[in-house]
Point group: C2
Chain length 176, copies 2
C-alpha cells in the first residue's frame, strides 16, 4: 500500500511545511521564511483549520472538465450541527472545507473513478461581523497548503452571492 496518508495536505499546510523548509536550508533563514510565509488567504485572512481532514463529511461532489475533479466537503462540529438542525443562516464559527482531487479511473474496477493527486482545499469561515461585506463569509483557496493569489480570491464572493443566496451562500447540501 502506498503511504498516502503521509502526504496529508494538512501536514503540508502548517508545521510540516516549516519542517521541510528547515530540513532544506539553514535553520535560521528557514525559521524566518516559515514565520513570514503567507499561510492566510489574501483579502480574508482565512487559514487552513487544524485537523480538518478528520471532520465529518457533508457531501461528495464531482466537477466536470476542465477541472475534472472529485471533491468532498467536510464541516467542523458547528457546521454539522447547523446542517443537522437545518439552521440558516449558518452560525458564527461554522467552518466548511472542500477538498479536491483529480478524477482518475480506478486501476482495479472499470466503472469507478477515484481520487488522484490533491488539487485544492477551499475553506469558508462564518463570522458575520468580520466578513459583513461578503455575506458573513471569509474565503480561502489553498494549493499545497499555500493560499492562492488575491485575484483568485476576488472571484469567490461574486459567484457564491449570485448562485446560492437562498442557502446562505453555501453550495453544499448534506448528503443523507
Amino acid at each position: 500500500m502506498r503511504p498516502a496518508i503521509t502526504r496529508l495536505r494538512a501536514a503540508a499546510a502548517g508545521l510540516g511545511f516549516a519542517a521541510v523548509l528547515v530540513a532544506g536550508i539553514s535553520a535560521s533563514a528557514s525559521a524566518e521564511n516559515a514565520k513570514d510565509a503567507p499561510l492566510a488567504s489574501p483579502i480574508y485572512g482565512v487559514t487552513l483549520p487544524h485537523g480538518y481532514r478528520a471532520w465529518e463529511l457533508i457531501a461528495p461532489a464531482q466537477e466536470a472538465a476542465p477541472l475534472d475533479e472529485l471533491r468532498a466537503t467536510l464541516g467542523n462540529p458547528t457546521a454539522i450541527e447547523a446542517y443537522r438542525e437545518g439552521k440558516l443562516p449558518f452560525p458564527d464559527g461554522t467552518v466548511l472545507v472542500k477538498l479536491a482531487w483529480k478524477h482518475v479511473p480506478s486501476p482495479e474496477f472499470g466503472p469507478a473513478s477515484v481520487p488522484g493527486a490533491a488539487t485544492t482545499v477551499q475553506v469558508m469561515v462564518k463570522d458575520a461581523r468580520r466578513y459583513a461585506a461578503t455575506g458573513g463569509w471569509g474565503f480561502g483557496r489553498f494549493v499545497n497548503g499555500r493560499p492562492v493569489d488575491a485575484a483568485q480570491h476576488e472571484t469567490c464572493w461574486g459567484c457564491h452571492q449570485s448562485l446560492v443566496k437562498d442557502h446562505d451562500y453555501v453550495f453544499t447540501r448534506y448528503a443523507p
Copy 2:
C-alpha cells in the same frame, strides 16, 4: 433548506425505522415486525454500525453508468488508524462503510454533480476468525436500511478476491 438530515439513512436503519413502523400500524404488531426484521446481512450477519455517518472520510468515488453514483467511504477509528499507519492486513475490528447516492447535476453550478437520492450502504467488517473463508471480511449491502438478498451477497467476495487481493481485498485508498 430541505431538511435532508432528517432523511439520514442511519436513522432508517435502526430504531428510527422501528419508530416509523410503530407510528404506521398497531404497536404490538409493529414491535414484532421490528424484532423479526432481518437487519443483518445474509451469509455474513453484518449490520449497519451505529453512528457510521459521523465517521471519518477515507475517500470519495464516482461510479459510471449504469449505476451512475457518487460514493464516499468512511471508516471507524480502527480503520482510520490502519490507513494512517499503512497497516496491511487491516486489523480485526476494522469497519468500512461505503455510502452511495445517485449522481445528479447541481441545479446551481453547471460543471458540478452532487448527491441525489441515497441508493446503497455497503459495509465491510474485519474478523479474521469469523470470516476466515472470505479473507477475514464480512460483507453487508443495505438499501433503505435493510440488507439485500443472499444472491447479491454471494457476489461480494469473488469480486474483492479477484481484484484487490494485494490491498487486503479492499478497493478504497485514503485520499490525502
